[in-house]
Symmetry: none
Subunit: 259 residues, 2 copies
């Protein structure tokens, strides 16, 4: 924005906020191949959650000229830390699972991700080579992105999945670059704020006795989905938190007066 | 066509005439990775022109379950033989070259290739790992397909290029085969249920003293928008109503015990 008089963004700038997050990668060669795939499509942010071996010469060998992506890769111990600043989180998975969440194809993913990227960091989460994303990891995602693969053989390797999703991001960014971005009307709150809301919500639901004999897990999962779909902005998360706080004060205040 | 009464072709049948032709591949592992990429996208025809080492255990290892593609791969000594039956030939290259030919992007390639495939075999030609396609090889092609990569780093590896072009072929084939999009998992609740929730919510917020001296109008408007964006289904509205009811019971229950 600084180098041009108008507010049109370059393809590179449009893609800059998008971080690719690799979960517990076993083979460093796959990290290298993923870095190469990212760089060919003009993406630059790589985040690694608890990689088995990294840095590693095998990663460098397969990066094949994309070492800068490896050098600037951020490393995290937990997925929550890696996603803390993300305004939106997409989970890439080739599996049809028993969990209810919004499932989209790569092209729609690219549109949504670039819309969200005008407001702040966006994370694209890739699971382990063997098992993909667990249900717990998918619960941190607003959307599940599925590459519509051959139903009889859907196992794209990690770098191939990164290549296809990054390709769609680049195609979408190319079609948008040179255009002034639409002003962000709605800016979702950072992921960590929403996560803190869920913790608080569960505490208050316990307090009002909402769960009763039921397990809180299933209900909390549904409530997470509901609020994640809504993508509340910071002010809205404040309001939701305020409701919880007032509810606690009212109930605890009354309790104090009990005999 | 045999199994259905109508004349709609399956995705598999639409993709069947498309042969991927690998030119003088040096590393058998790349042949295996390419076979895997083809199979994930439902393509089945692999043709090898003078591969350096094939068959080879490394190809099998990297095919990772796509050995049937390797087993049925056809081997040719010359490119002319490999292309003999093709009605149309597309050359995949990441290089801008000094030769004048029709250059298209992968999405247009997919449309043209599937149009041509209704008439007979179509070939997609990939060059060697090091040097891509030579000008002589490109002269055998009707179109040059270029993946719009990062101009500063455009070197997709062979399997990645195969993955991206095959992905576009599959997306186009799916759209032609009457592929029904993913079934709607999420059915929003009727509006009146949501409206009743908003009435109930406002009552409970009054009860917990959330509004204080503030006007409820503005806050309720934001909360309405938040929940409307989320489009809760019936079960979710029930959960939300249940939370309000339990909150009321907890607070009123306590109140009854007040002096």
């Amino acid at each position: 924005m600084s180098e041009t008089a108008d507010s049109a963004l370059s393809t590179e700038a449009l893609l800059q906020p998008i971080a690719s997050v690799l979960m517990q990668t076993s083979h460093p060669g796959n990290i290298g191949s993923a870095a190469r795939a990212l760089k060919t499509m003009g993406l630059s942010q790589l985040r690694l959650v608890a990689p088995l071996r990294f840095p590693d010469p095998e990663a460098v060998a397969l990066a094949s000229g994309a070492e800068d992506i490896l050098d600037s890769a951020q490393r995290f111990d937990t997925l929550n830390e890696a996603l803390a600043d993300a305004r939106m989180v997409f989970g890439s998975s080739d599996r049809v699972r028993g969990i209810r969440m919004l499932e989209i194809e790569p092209r729609e993913f690219a549109r949504l991700a670039l819309d969200a990227a005008t407001a702040g960091p966006v994370a694209v989460l890739y699971g382990t080579e063997r098992t993909g994303l667990t249900n717990e990891e998918l619960e941190l995602c607003q959307y599940l992105v599925t590459i519509p693969a051959n139903p009889h053989y859907s196992s794209l390797n990690l770098a191939s999945a990164v290549q296809v999703l990054s390709y769609e991001l680049r195609i979408e960014a190319l079609s948008r670059s040179g255009h002034a971005p639409a002003e962000a009307l709605h800016v979702p709150a950072p992921n960590e704020q929403l996560e803190r809301y869920f913790v608080h919500l569960e505490q208050v639901l316990e307090l009002v006795g909402f769960f009763g004999d039921r397990s809180s897990t299933k209900i909390m999962r549904r409530l997470r989905r509901l609020y994640q779909r809504s993508m509340p902005d910071e002010r809205e998360v404040q309001i939701l938190r305020g409701i919880l706080t007032e509810t606690e004060v009212t109930i605890r205040g009354r309790r104090r007066r009990e005999p």
